[in-house]
């Protein structure tokens, strides 16, 4: 019999100088603050049927049961039982509930950050309706408080806390936009005192995806919109939402809404970014404690409305295409039909992936996993699921409506030496605008 190789220790990083007890207390304190009715119901209802395992791209592509989604909630569940569950005093008295230890939290860092994109496919598989993805987000809030976040994400967090964006400080935005405008031959207004639409960006659009930003400008200028970008609030991707940094999430959200209000905008236009949609469209109002004074709209919805109203028209492309549904926009955002109407307007013959719409597999990079370098091997395994489904359609074009998905899929394609390009729905519309 050969020598047994001990399993590699789980990867984890630590931030700050807190001792272990303080980290545990910080994590549990954060968990407890979020044990509302829905979270409690969901933590109480699991029957350990394991059906979520067959929904998770990380579990499927590795075959490793440790990635079973409900298992990722174990520290949260234990904290719930120990601290606030209806029988908590009884469980504590008899020693039947144990708080998570520092070793647990460190081990679970990989499960909560490297191998979960909060895509919510597991939520749709659960016969009890447990929103596992949302509870992973709650877990991340505690992990952030405990200073137990992958260092790459923590670095981005520190950058965003300082700059208001992971891409650039606000004061550099006018120069960047001027460069993008010159490069692509469009006008990009910045820091106007009054506008109807505040246009926001994902960090990639200020770097490798500048064409998307220029294309948004092209369409907005075509319809004669009164719009602007603004150095006081421009990055919609919201790294705080992904990392579990609630303070940062609130700050970044407020920067968008407050800026829109300041310039009299009635609409905040979000870029092709999934988590921007989750953070702004569905969570922004909670920071204000009331309905928002502005409308928040995703680029795909915007294009859909412009096409439906006849404010823009497009030349039909007339080829076959398949579409990757970004999880936060479709499965957790409800915009399944809008993208398909835009694709139809572009004259594509849509060949759906085997798993599409709310059933679609995540790109593997959501929830910050795309930025978390140490998760790259896992991400590449997940990419294979998508690649096989795309190839099975036989479609000529491969389209999506999220920049982060595009980056993830492009990285996966490069790693797999796959020559299929992932195209942006926005860019396709802009490239085929009819006069």
């Amino acid at each position: 019999m050969g020598a047994m190789t001990p399993p590699a220790p789980a990867a984890f990083d630590r931030q700050g100088e807190q001792d272990d007890t303080a980290r545990i207390d910080a994590a549990i304190g954060s968990f407890v603050r979020e044990f509302g009715v829905t979270a409690s119901l969901h933590l109480e209802s699991c029957v350990r049927c394991g059906l979520c395992a067959d929904a998770c791209h990380f579990r499927i592509s590795t075959g490793d049961p440790k990635y079973t989604p409900i298992r990722k909630l174990e520290p949260l569940r234990r904290a719930y039982l120990h601290e606030v569950s209806p029988f908590a005093p009884l469980l504590r008295a008899f020693g039947l509930a144990k708080r998570p230890t520092i070793e647990d939290l460190q081990e679970w860092q990989e499960l909560l950050y490297d191998s979960c994109t909060m895509c919510g496919r597991c939520t749709t598989a659960c016969p009890m309706g447990i929103d596992i993805a949302e509870l992973v987000k709650v877990s991340r809030h505690g992990m952030f408080k405990a200073g137990l976040v992958p260092e790459r994400l923590a670095l981005m967090d520190r950058t965003a806390r300082q700059w208001g964006s992971t891409a650039t400080p606000g004061e550099d935005l006018p120069d960047i936009l001027a460069e993008v405008a010159a490069e692509h031959g469009v006008t990009i207004p910045c820091d106007l005192g009054r506008a109807d639409i505040l246009v926001t960006a994902a960090p990639a659009e200020l770097g490798e995806h500048t064409k998307s930003l220029a294309d948004a400008a092209k369409i907005l200028n075509r319809i004669g919109a009164r719009w602007t970008m603004h150095s006081a609030g421009f990055d919609a991707s919201n790294i705080g939402f992904n990392n579990g940094d609630l303070e940062l999430q609130e700050r970044l959200t407020r920067s968008l809404i407050d800026t829109a209000v300041k310039i009299g905008a009635t609409t905040v236009l979000l870029p092709e970014c999934g988590h921007a949609y989750g953070a702004a469209r569905w969570e922004a109002a909670k920071w204000y404690g009331q309905a928002l004074p502005v409308r928040i709209i995703h680029m795909t919805e915007f294009l859909d409305e412009l096409l439906a109203d006849g404010r823009i028209r497009v030349h039909p492309i007339g080829e076959t295409a398949t579409f990757h549904d970004p999880c936060q926009i479709v499965r957790r955002g409800g915009l399944e039909a809008a993208a398909r109407r835009v694709l139809a307007a572009l004259g594509f013959e849509l060949r759906e992936l085997q798993d599409h719409g709310t059933a679609g597999f995540c790109c593997g990079g959501g929830g910050g996993v795309v930025s978390n370098q140490r998760a790259a091997p896992l991400r590449h395994k997940v990419f294979e699921l998508k690649r096989l489904q795309v190839e099975a359609t036989g479609a000529k074009r491969f389209v999506t409506s999220c920049g982060q998905c595009r980056i993830t899929l492009e990285m996966g394609a490069q790693h797999a030496s796959w020559n299929k390009r992932t195209e942006s729905l926005l860019e396709l519309v802009a490239d085929n605008l009819a006069h």
Binding site: T38, L41, V47, R48, G129, A285, G357, A359
Partner: protein, 226 residues
Amino acid sequence: MTLLEFARGPGLYASLAVFVAGTLWRLAGILMRPRLPDLSPAREGAPSRLAGALQANLRAMWPRPEFLPGARFIAINGYVFHLGLALVFFGYAPHIAFVERLTGFGWPALPDPVMYASASITIIALLMALAMRINDPVRRRISIADDYITWTITFLPFITGMAVAGEPSDAILARKHLLYEGPLAVHLLTLELLLIWFPFGKLMHAVLFAFSRGATGVRFSHRGVQ
């Protein structure tokens, strides 16, 4: 006081008290946790909260098509033992007589052969569920003590019930004196154990499932997710 007298008297009432009080305590403890209203504007055309909750409850009755290949066996097996449990409890004549003695309410019984078949199939389904939990790497990994305790406590009334169902229902009910006092007492005690355990373990999902599914239905119907 004989064991049967205890099981039919103080044991039964104590277990019912724990069942009712424990279930209400756990449910109230959950439902009284803080609520955070969703202040985001609903998707145009989104159903009401109630409709969203009901739709989610109905949708979760059967796995979505994309999950069906992996979920079919678990779903069918689950239905078999849930329906089997209900049939045997509510359809077997001696059980109905037992409830009638307690509450005054009775209803027509199902034929004995149906009951024997239901009990047998349920026992097989429960054994298959246990085998899957032990043998499947995912289920084994996520299982906790509650799963095995609950399985045992659910299984015991079936086995002990089989031991006292040696005669047709009519004959059992017609007797003035019980033939199997000891086994019947044990059978009743296993039921009482189940009642006592119910609020503390995952049997509580029988109450919580509707709330849990409903909460998710409200969240996502608000967003226009189909």
